[in-house]
Structure formats: C-alpha cells, structure tokens
Point group: C2
Chain length 417, copies 2
Amino acid sequence: MATASDLPVSPLAPERFPSLPKVAGMEAATHSLGLYKGKVRDDLLVVHFPDGAAAGGIFTMSSTRSDDVDRCRAALNAGGGRARVLVVNTGNSNAFTGAAGVAKNAATIASARKQSGCGEHEVFISATGVIGEPLPPHIVSGGVEQVWGRLGAPDFEKIANCIRTTDTFAKAAGETVSLNRRNVSIVGVAKGSGMIQPNMATTLNYVFTDANLGPAVCQALIARLGDLTYNCITVDSDTSTSDTLLFFATGAAGGEPVDNPDDPRLSDFIAAMHRVLLELATQIVRDGEGATKIIEITVEGAASDASAKVIACSIANSPLVKTAIAAGDANWGRVVMAVGKTAEPVERDRLSLWFGDHQVAHEGARAADYSEAKATKAVSGDQVFIRVDVGIGRGKATVWTCDLTDGYVKINGAYRS
Amino acid sequence: MATASDLPVSPLAPERFPSLPKVAGMEAATHSLGLYKGKVRDDLLVVHFPDGAAAGGIFTMSSTRSDDVDRCRAALNAGGGRARVLVVNTGNSNAFTGAAGVAKNAATIASARKQSGCGEHEVFISATGVIGEPLPPHIVSGGVEQVWGRLGAPDFEKIANCIRTTDTFAKAAGETVSLNRRNVSIVGVAKGSGMIQPNMATTLNYVFTDANLGPAVCQALIARLGDLTYNCITVDSDTSTSDTLLFFATGAAGGEPVDNPDDPRLSDFIAAMHRVLLELATQIVRDGEGATKIIEITVEGAASDASAKVIACSIANSPLVKTAIAAGDANWGRVVMAVGKTAEPVERDRLSLWFGDHQVAHEGARAADYSEAKATKAVSGDQVFIRVDVGIGRGKATVWTCDLTDGYVKINGAYRS
C-alpha cells in the first residue's frame, strides 16, 4: 500500500507546517500499530478530554459507509453531544467489513471506556485506509490500552502526520480569537487527497477549541461552516465511506458557557472558525492526487444558491475541464459544456464567462475583445479563477477543486497493490 | 488541433472496418473545407435522399447545445419527420457561437435547399469540433454547393472517416434483415471518443435503412433503442453540446409501408437495429480517449431499472474505479464506494459483488472464498465484467465504459492548443 512518504510533496503545499496555539483541556498520543507493512509510522491517534468536551459532527452521506461513521452519529444522537475519547486509526478503513468491523469497534469502545471511565456514547471512532479488509478486533483496542499512559499535551504536527494516508503533507490550521473577553484557541487537523466530493468532502477532520460552547452550538457551527467549506471542495467526485468532521469544545478556557448558536457574542469566533475550516478544506484540494493547480469556481446569476452549487460542481468535476487546465489550455468551451450538462436552469444566450479577470464569453458567444493570450495566461499559474454568470437569477456559490493530471492516474493505479 | 491521425489506434479497435451492405435511396459525398489547418482530410459530409426519407432522432440534453441541434429537433417537429439532405462538418462544433452560428446554419440550409429543391424542415445539420469559435457563414454552405455535383453511391468508410475528430478508428456497423419478405439494409456510422455520457452519449451518429418505415416508426425505434445503447455508455461523464443520433429510412427497398412502431412484422428489424446501435455505441467506448479496457457493469437487485442505471453509471464514472482497473488492481472497495455515493436505495449489508465470475463480496463483507489472484485475473484482460446486487428489489441495468489512463489526460490536455 502506498503511503504519504512514497509520493513527492504537492507543489501546492504550504511552505511549512503552521505554528498553532495550544488548546487547553485535551491530551493526546500517537502510536504505531504496524498497519503499514514494511514501514515505521504512527497509525493510531488517541485524544482524551479529561473533563469531557461538547461535540458536534457531520459525516459522509454514503449508503455504504463504515460502522465507525454510524457509531459517531449514534453517539452524538444518543449521548447529547458529550465526548471523552477520540480514537482514530489509519491503514484500514474498516468499511464494508461486516461483523468483523462491528466487533473491532465494540472492542475499541470497550477499551476506551475502561481506560477513561466514560459512557458508551462519549467515545468517537474513525478509521481510514483500504475498504473491505477485516482487521482482527483487538489490534486497535490493544493499542488504546498501550498508549493511554503516554497521553500528554497534544503535538498537532504528530497528530496531523498520524492521520495521513496518501496525503503528501500534514494538514492543520489554527487561530486565537476573543470570546467573552477571553482568548480561546481553535485548531483543526485534516487528512484527505482523493475520494473527495461533497457531501461531505474529504475523509477525516478534527477541530478542537477550548472555548466554552454547549453541544447545540458545536453541532450548529460545524454543520453551517462545514457546508460553506468542506462541502464546497471536490477532487474527483468520489465520496468516501468514512468521511468525518468532528468538532470538540473543551470549555477549558473558562467563562460563561454559550449555548445558543445565534448568540451575537459568537460572531468573531464563527469568523475565525470559518477561516480555519476553509484553510483545512483548501489544503485538501492543494493535496488533490496529482494536483498542480488549485481552481476556484464561482457561479452566479443562478436560480438559487443550491442551483449555483450544482453547476459549479459540474464544472469542478468535469474531467475535460480539469485536463485542459492541467495543460494550461484556455479551453473555455469545455466550461460551457459542463454548465450545460446539468439539469439546472441556464440561459445559454445570456451566459457570460471569465478566466481570472479576462472575460472570455459574453451573452452566449465569445467576447468581442477575447484574447487567447490573456485567457491562456489566466490558466497558466498554479491558481486559476473561473467565474460564470448563467443569466437566470441571483443564486451564487463558490467551490474549489484541482486539475487532473497523469499523476492522479498513477497514484490511484498504485494505491492498493 | 489534434486529429485522429496524431493518435495511435486504440488497442480495443476492431481488426478492420466492417463489410457493409448497400443502402438504396441515398447518395453521398465528402469534401475538404480545410477546417483542420495543416492537414488534408475530409471535413464535410453531404447526404442526399433524392426521393426523400422518413426521419427520427434523439439529441443531447445540454442546455448549452448548439443551434445545429436545435434546428434538427425543430425540423423533426415542424416537418413531420421527412428528410432530403444531411450536412455534417467536423473541425468546428458551431456551439456557443451566438449570432455567427445562427448565420452559418441559415446559409447552410439555404444552400442545401437551393441544390435539392426541398423544404426548410427537410435539411438536417450537424457539426463537431471545438466549441465557441465562430466560422465565417459561407464556408460550409459553399462546400455544399461545390460537392453537390459529386454525389453518388455512399462510401461508408469515407463517410465514417469524414466525421472523425479524436477518434482513432472509423466506426460503422451494418446488417441485412428481412422485413415484409424483402431484404432491407441497416447501416450506421458514428464518431466519438470523449465528452461521452448519457443523455445522450456520444457526438454524431447516423443510421440509414432502405426499409419502408414511416416517420413515427423512425422516431419510436431510435428513441427506444437509443435508450438501451447510446444512453448506456459513458467515457468521462461529460455531455457534448452537439450530440446527435439521426435515423433515416429511404423506403427504397419498397414493399408496404410500416407506420406503427408496435407492428409485429418489425420484430426482426428491431433486433437487427438494436445490434447495429449496440455495436456502434460500444465501438465508441472502445475508442474512449486513452482506453485500454472495456468494462461492462451490470447492477441488479435495485429498486427499479432507472435506479440500477444511476448506480451503474456512478460506478462507470468513478475516477477511482477506472484508474484501479486501468492498473489491473482488483480494488473492489472502490466499487462499494461508488455504489454508496448515489442517493439510490441500497442495502449495505445485503450488497454482493462479482468481478467476472468470481464473487468478491457477499452480503456486506468480503466473500469467504475471496481470492486476490482470481479477482486480479478478472480485471487484467482488456474486457472486464463487474456485477453488483444491491439487495433491494428487481431493477436491473447494464452500462459500458472504459478505464481511465494517463492517455486520457494527455489527449485532453493537447486537444485544442
């Protein structure tokens, strides 16, 4: 199985791992279960909230999702959004493993409860890696026991590295922001570089804050901001069976608890959390398998925001658009094709299109002052902006994707064997 | 602009161009308008039905389709399904060309009417090639005038070559069948190798018969059989702005006319026409850009046939499934992923999956007698069969696609520039 270290770092990667604030009220440890044969790397993450945390989450919509995803959703529903332990393994997704997968998760939860003394619905579990290969049930649960004595202040770089699979760089983002006149931290880690499509895009993502938020706030913020970020990215239109985005608030920064997601005191916090999620989501696009360019696509003039998003995703997922941009070819006719292939309302003869700042099409035909040189320049760098007005209404959406290169084909032809 | 001759012939191409029967009641000529700069090749096809023909057709559903498509549809609706002239050019699709495209088509139709003396709605026009580049209006119409004196018995190999763009081989199929105790011929030509997705899959396709069929029969048969063939193939999920499948019946074989599509005398004819369309449609898949394998995907046990087709197309369009098969990797977990990503009803824990004859998954988990060697063998040849039972009902569908290789990326990064 290919792992991160086999692949050259994406040319779109940030220059360095970010400097991150501390998040009070959580401890963590990483460990190697040996799930990557012939490689020494951490593949188990355990996070412990000694005084508990409020939790919220959103998950893959796949109908063949893993039992791990079902258990996280059930924990949130049945446990009222309280968390004590998070256990994540890489190297095996535990998806489509039937009874063996259920047994593995039961053992893992039992082990976490034994160590922490918490309730069944305070344990959250995730797994990522190959689909359909059952693991012996006690490998992960045994790891939880082994690692428990080593829990300590979280090293987010280690954590981000531990959850990588084909990622070519470790992904994290963080901010400090004022809430109730106290400084609070928000830190997120993410992994994902293929099988990326809303809903919800990417595989595993964990965002931690020491702000004192109630479970209803956690759930509302992660759903609302996840929809504007993770659900607006796509690499290849494929939806993982394990996609998980969890948000934990330890409350260790103290202060009055915030229990209403519409509380106006949250506005700075929400803006900061939005930036953290967008940074994580676009890092995933920057690590799209084989990517050499990040593409921001805005559709406006649509019947509704939802309609705009369908059209934007159609452009973002078109192999013909993505291969043209990979080659630096300003083949804007393919964007017109991708707009046309959805069932959404579009007025062909009022459709206008921009590559970067250059208008390439105006109301149903090539723009009068179209310049091949300017259009080509707009798709030649490693950041490409496409804007389409479909001439119907006021709906608008922005999505992010990457180009499609032979690197994608090579990585995905080699992943499993 | 890349053309057929730049590309190596697909390894999945038939060994030779088929031997085809004659179709009475039609004449044709091909010609070079010089639309492929620096290349000598035919890029204009004119077909003339001296005594007229009954016609039917199905077209792209794209909302950014070309004016050519709109005119064919309008001709069928307003003209009652009668045809005298077909004009096709390659090298420029005339899509998204606004007023210039409308002017080009008006001039072409006027020229065809002048030569043939027919009505406005008896002229059918198609164009394929780059999108959004206006052509001077008189290039194609002038070509019609030039070529008219050279019309003669159709050379289907020349015709099939004339309509190629990135196709690596000329596509045609034909049969002779008995109808009303007379031998009649069916011959079809097709072009297409990318931007292939229902509805309707591929770009340009023309099927001719000398059977004596009325317009209602032509329309009913092409719609019914097109749905079972062209609308069941996909190369890259992209839908062309020019997709056209036209069916012309000259009636020159004589005999009593058939005006009812449910006439039992049609059964052998329908079976033969189905074989011709399926052969053409799968030839398009065999010429999928960069294809090295043809993949037949059958989904059964779905809530309905329509639901089965959505799931089958999700598998067929998954870049992760297609790249794994390209590499000969039996990564069946990706098929499970692609089944799960649609919104169609699926019973995860009753889902079973076969690669060729080998059952790889049984009721929600890897099959007990799964063999990596057998599964790998099933995806190693140039024909791959995938079958999924989704455990819900009796709905069933089969679709055809090809693998995704770096050849696709190379061809589509080079097409336009």
